[in-house]
């Protein structure tokens, strides 16, 4: 690969360019779908290609340590804003996840979305661009730009193609996250000014700002603003209430992307920006994060048990699972952080798959109520098999992906904060309780009312099989992923 090939720019803007391509073929829904699939597959190929650079190992020219792909250009010199993209192991994993899940999202929308198809796929692709930008941007301004820009497509996806109280949910989602982000903006600006005043160079570059000396009292506030923004995205208790609504009312692909990717941006932000920028403040806030994440783990799992709507159940389970990620980040030890990152990936795969499954059931019966179903195992064995598989993955059965993340997080956290980890262990039990309830009431028992159910189509089967393979692979052989993130995590935590 030529070193000056702007692969990162391409990664970010290829889907956006795809929007234009879709515009050209907007008359035919079928062509639009194919186009979207081609673009997302190309993006996936590009991400895989980027792995090659990771394998090459050499750092990019001028890049900070750990970044094997790096791009830097002048953008708005008036404010010292630069167009800086960089990819290290953590970004790479997230980028891969994004590309992968977006392909899945296109796959699950194929038949479910029948209205305003071109707009739908255009938004999906725009969304992908935004998320890739978040995972690659290293200039705080650039990051913030993507961070907020990605809200818009999701807002439209929920609002136009959603169900139930879709408008309420869409607006709530938007405002909630928007509010948090704006406070972060204040913090970014003050950090920027402080750095400028100290060094004379006004810049938004992460790796310059890291060296800013911020008095502890101020740092706490700045970190709190960052944390607030990221905690909403995460979501951490008690800032999570937008999530069940947004998930429940979003179209299937929307829920998939929301759960698999958008929530990860919060965690990623905390890892990439929150903790490195304010290490002491972050240390000081760690007990707070421990507390809310443990409460979130238990709370989400407990409330998920009471749910009647499958999507809402999965949504609350996300609150619970993301608590583990937060726990791992708060512990900020190499092991815990590795666990947090891999848990992000795992949660993305598993929860995405569960939302896809619920979407498929919904497409067939137009009901997401658990009470509608029962004993469908005999009718749709393939679908039920995947349902069971992903539920068990979600419950943290070893050999499947979620276990890996949860286990590593728990081991890492226990070392640093045994009390917090002990609380999280309770969640391990509660998780199983709601999962087996879901499995039992949907798959087992007698049919409550006769349902017209067809088993998986080839497309659906393909989508789920890919996710299933990912779930099992990550559960059995997560070592490659753990290796990729090892270098950046060592650098972040200062461990050799």
């Amino acid at each position: 690969m030529p070193t000056d090939f702007p692969i990162l720019t391409l990664l970010v803007f290829l889907p956006l360019a795809g929007v234009l391509a879709l515009f050209a073929v907007r008359k035919s829904d079928e062509l639009v779908r194919m186009g979207a699939l081609v673009v997302t597959l190309a993006e996936l190929a590009l991400s895989v290609w980027a792995c090659g650079a990771a394998g090459a190992g050499a750092g990019a020219a001028g890049a900070p340590a750990g970044f094997f792909l790096y791009q830097d250009a002048q953008w708005i010199e008036r404010f010292g804003i630069r167009y800086t993209l960089g990819m290290d192991g953590i970004s790479l994993v997230m980028v891969l996840l994004t590309s992968f899940i977006t392909v899945i999202a296109v796959g699950v929308s194929w038949r479910g979305i029948k209205e305003r198809v071109p707009l739908y796929y255009a938004l999906l692709l725009a969304m992908e661009s935004g998320i890739q930008g978040v995972f690659l941007g290293l200039d705080l301004f650039l990051f913030y730009l993507f961070w907020e820009a990605m809200l818009i497509p999701m807002f439209f996806l929920i609002g136009i193609w959603g169900h139930g109280r879709r408008v309420y949910s869409a607006v709530k989602f938007f405002l909630y996250t928007f509010f948090g982000s704006l406070l972060m903006l204040v913090a970014i600006i003050s950090l920027y000014l402080r750095h400028g005043a100290q060094t004379g160079t006004y810049t938004f570059s992460l790796f310059e700002l890291i060296h800013t000396t911020v008095p502890y009292g101020t740092a706490i506030w700045l970190f709190a603003a960052f944390l607030f923004a990221f905690a909403i995205k995460f979501p951490l208790f008690p800032l999570h209430t937008w999530l069940p609504d947004a998930h429940t009312d979003a179209p299937t692909a929307g829920s998939v992307i929301l759960a698999s990717l958008l929530l990860k941006t919060g965690a990623y932000g905390l890892i990439r920006f929150g903790f490195p920028l304010f290490p002491e403040a972050a240390r000081a806030c760690a007990p707070l994060i421990y507390t809310v994440s443990v409460i979130g783990i238990v709370w989400g799992a407990w409330i998920a048990f009471a749910q009647r709507d499958m999507k809402r159940l999965v949504a609350y389970s996300s609150v619970s699972h993301m608590g583990f990620v937060a726990l791992g980040i708060a512990a900020w030890s190499p092991v815990a952080l590795s666990g947090a990152v891999i848990q992000m990936v795992n949660h993305g795969v598993t929860t995405g798959a569960l939302f896809a499954l619920v979407g498929m059931l919904d497409e067939r019966t137009h009901s997401r109520e658990i009470a509608t179903y029962g004993g469908i195992w005999g009718k749709v064995p393939a679908l039920s098999f995947f349902f069971l598989l992903f539920c068990m993955a979600s419950a943290g059965v070893p050999g499947l992906n979620n276990f890996v993340g949860e286990f590593i997080v728990l081991m890492g956290t226990f070392k640093v904060a045994p009390g917090a980890a002990a609380g999280a262990f309770v969640g391990v039990v509660l998780t199983l309780i709601y999962t087996v309830r879901l499995v039992q009431e949907v798959l087992f028992g007698k049919e409550k009312k006769p349902l017209e159910l067809a088993d998986l189509s080839v497309r659906e089967g393909g989508v789920l099989a890919v996710l299933g393979v990912a779930a099992i692979y990550l559960g059995v052989h997560p070592a490659p992923v753990l290796d990729i993130i090892k270098v950046p995590i060592a650098l972040l935590t200062g461990v050799k």
Binding site: W75, I76, E77, R78, F79, R116, Y144, L145, F146, E148, A149, L151, I152, F155, F156, G159, I160, R166, V167, A170, V171, F174, L175, F178, F179, L182, L183, L185, V186, I189, S190, Y192, L193
Partner: protein, 468 residues
Amino acid sequence: MSVTDALAIMPILIAAGAALLVLLAGPFLQARSISWIAVVAAAAAGVWAVVYPAVGATVTLPGLAFTGLSQFLIPVFSAAATLTLLLSHDYNQRRGIKGEEFQATVLFTLFALCVLACATNLLILFLAIESVSFAFYILVSLDLEREESGEAGLKYLLMGAVAAAIVAFGISLIFAGTGTLALTGAFAPEATRPIVSAGWGLVVIGIAFKLSLVPAHLWTPDVYQGAPAPVAAFLSTGSKVAAAAFFLLLLAFSRPLAEIHLPLYLLSLGSMVIGNLAALLQKNIKRMLAYSSIAHMGYLALALLTGSREGYSAVLLYGAIYTAMNLAAFGAIASLSGAEERGELTAYTGLGHTAPFRGAILALAMLALAGIPPTAGFLGKFYIFYAAIRGGETTLAIIGIVTAAISAYFYLKVVVQLYMREPEGAAPAAPHQGTPAESLALTCAAVAILFIGIYPSPILRVLDAALR
């Protein structure tokens, strides 16, 4: 007046000449031709200001000079006028607003705006800003068919006249205290300091009216609602930027007094809070935009408050961005309005799908107004808050940001209506086909919103030159 002078102030001359031309030739020409003449003239004024490098030329005219600031402001004003003219031609035809006086008045407004941008003393400045207001009294009440239009005109006129008196009294006190009307060096001797101080106070409250800052904001919703949509577009952009520029000239070129800090602080605070909150549940889109306008002027006041170069720079940039955003918003409203003004929010249900282009522009404008990247609205807000924090106004900046977050709700409400609601009962009247002129205007505004949002460096360079 030498040739150099004439060339330097050519935008003013173009606007004035075109206004006269339209007025004189009006009876003999078709409405279409009049509009085109007006559009070309208005655009030419702006283009001239951009292209002709007259900055710093020695001008012998009293009270006028072509400065860097003029070079920045005149294109903005000209763009506002041009787009207003483009939008209003078809709008006026649909609404039965006849006669060339509309175009002539717009051009006359542009003339006054250009004069304002070039003014170097208080007299010219005052006359220019009053002429702008004067022209708007007429424009607002030009829609004779609608009762609201006349009512709005009356309210605006009465308030405006009182405000003019107050500003004039303020200027007179400053003059009495300092003995000069020049903007270059108003120095108040200690003895007359209270007088000058009172003068500044009066000027501030007068400007508060022009910028519609709380508590002098009450006219804004009524006037926006009553005015024809293109006029509202022009009013919310041209007159606001003019008022901001007026204040800026006063502040930047004569030493601002420390004592007006608190009044301005409260004005800004009140506007941000009340404007954004009152807009939340508005049902009429124009009233909503009026309250939004109040809030945005609160942001401007926040930047002005810092009294720093960055603050002024932010004000100007925000003025330009705000012009683009509001032109797009009101432009889309104008274009979507048929024989009836499309005022109620519910009348926009589903228009994003039935009128995709204009719906998208309106949605873009709303997102920009809400300050969401990558639109220019985000950059503008960023600059304002950046300047505010840098200027030490952190508390107010945080309050402003919180209110900005709240404001997203009512902007999104429009987007929701456009794309996400099903009509309750009868579907809203289908919009007529968009005309090329309207499309051109809307495209220009949208391109500006996106371009400034994504690559603001060029405009920032001009801005830096303007404030040198």
